[in-house]
């Protein structure tokens, strides 16, 4: 269809940073979702969050697989042997799981971003990225459907569920802004059509999220911080999460079969 795209060394490094950032967010939100296994309010939700976590880990595998093609890195080592200061996830995904409203609102804000980013990435000029985006977006739509419904159910439920949903949104909204922070060198990849323009994704995200949370759910959206933190800035919650997530891999660093 088109001639093969040639990535410069600088492009490649920026693309690696973006793919890693995407994967890191997926790994962390999957871990937080997985923490509900055996604890969710009803059995069906236990299963749903486990399914969603499994999909997100699958997507992390796709992103890290693309990175491996660029630099020969090992996805398992990246996931299980990097420390908190090497992880590049957003703080949104590392915050403790909180209550059910916190979990569902976080997942809704995140899933909507991911679905819209992936949808835009299906038009990437970098064919391998366009291919995984076309794959993952089909799965992500189920997450958005599910968490959008939960946001509605909780916001329009009892006074208690409404109170908790409002509190969750107030807490999480400022963190969501970090999802739209470009990584170093990302602008050049956007110009080359390799990556979606985050400001365009953000405009669509804001429309969709506002229509649902404010319009359908009757919630008030809080203010957005002017200058969100870079992805190198973490809360104190990341290190303990990684300690738990990586404990088995680090105890058996030579294991070949998981």
């Amino acid at each position: 269809m088109t001639t093969a795209l040639t990535l410069t060394a600088a492009h490649t490094q920026a693309l690696i940073r973006r793919l890693t950032a995407l994967a890191d967010d997926e790994i962390l939100i999957a871990h937080r979702g997985g923490e509900w296994t055996g604890h969710a309010p009803i059995l069906e939700e236990d299963i749903a969050l486990a399914n969603i976590a499994q999909d997100e880990l699958g997507h992390a595998g796709l992103y890290l697989g693309l990175r491996a093609e660029l630099d020969g890195s090992d996805p398992d080592r990246l996931a299980f042997f990097r420390t908190a200061d090497e992880y590049t996830n957003t703080r949104l995904t590392e915050l403790p799981r909180g209550d059910w409203a916190f979990t569902m609102i976080r997942q809704f804000l995140y899933d909507t971003f991911e679905a819209l980013w992936l949808e835009a990435a299906t038009r990437s000029t970098y064919a391998p990225l366009a291919a995984i985006a076309a794959k993952a977006v089909r799965e992500e739509k189920f997450h958005v459907q599910h968490t959008a419904l939960w946001a509605e159910r909780l916001a329009l439920g009892t006074p208690e569920s409404e109170r908790r949903t409002r509190a969750a949104l107030n807490d999480l909204w400022p963190y969501a802004a970090q999802l739209f922070q470009p990584v170093d060198g990302e602008e050049a990849l956007v110009a080359a059509g390799v990556l979606p323009d985050l400001s365009a994704v953000r405009a669509r995200w804001t429309d969709l999220v506002t229509a649902h949370l404010s319009g359908t759910c009757g919630l008030t959206l809080p203010g957005t911080p002017a200058d969100p933190a870079p992805r190198s800035v973490h809360t104190g919650h990341l290190a303990p999460l990684l300690a738990e997530m990586q404990s088995v891999a680090r105890a058996h660093p030579d294991a070949e079969l998981w």
Binding site: N51, D55, G58, A134, H146, L149
Partner: protein
Amino acid sequence: MTAALTPGAVWQALARVPDPEIPVVSITDMGMVRDVQVQGDRVSVTFTPTFSGCPALHVIRASIEQAVRDLGVQDVTVHSTLTPPWTTDWINEDARDRLREYGIAPPAPTGDGPLIQLVAEPTRCPRCGSLNVRMTGSFGSTLCKRLYVCDSCREPFEGFKSV
């Protein structure tokens, strides 16, 4: 090996490889096998993974390799491709009937609707055929399924997601 191996023989062997999570259908029924190449005594098989987080993928890959080895082939390579992405529209008619008999509602045609659809596609009860069904869980025991209850015959059942 005496006679020369044909792609048709490889396809036949792969048609006997069950989906590890839904053993009433094979991986060819599911439309996962995209291409078979036979060059002398070398065979390469290309397959399309279903769900990206599906834990059965490595089992499927190993099963493909074993099925070809069982034909007496030593040199087997298994490639996976994501282009075009797997869709439930590739599940063949016969397999849809077997899914139904097994108690799993087959997927509806996917179409290219808007991204955010809060209303799930209509699903028929695999036991009585009624459309009077309720989704009780939007995720099921595997990534590819959802949970339903039929309000006509009262039977709980699983339905294949339309992907």
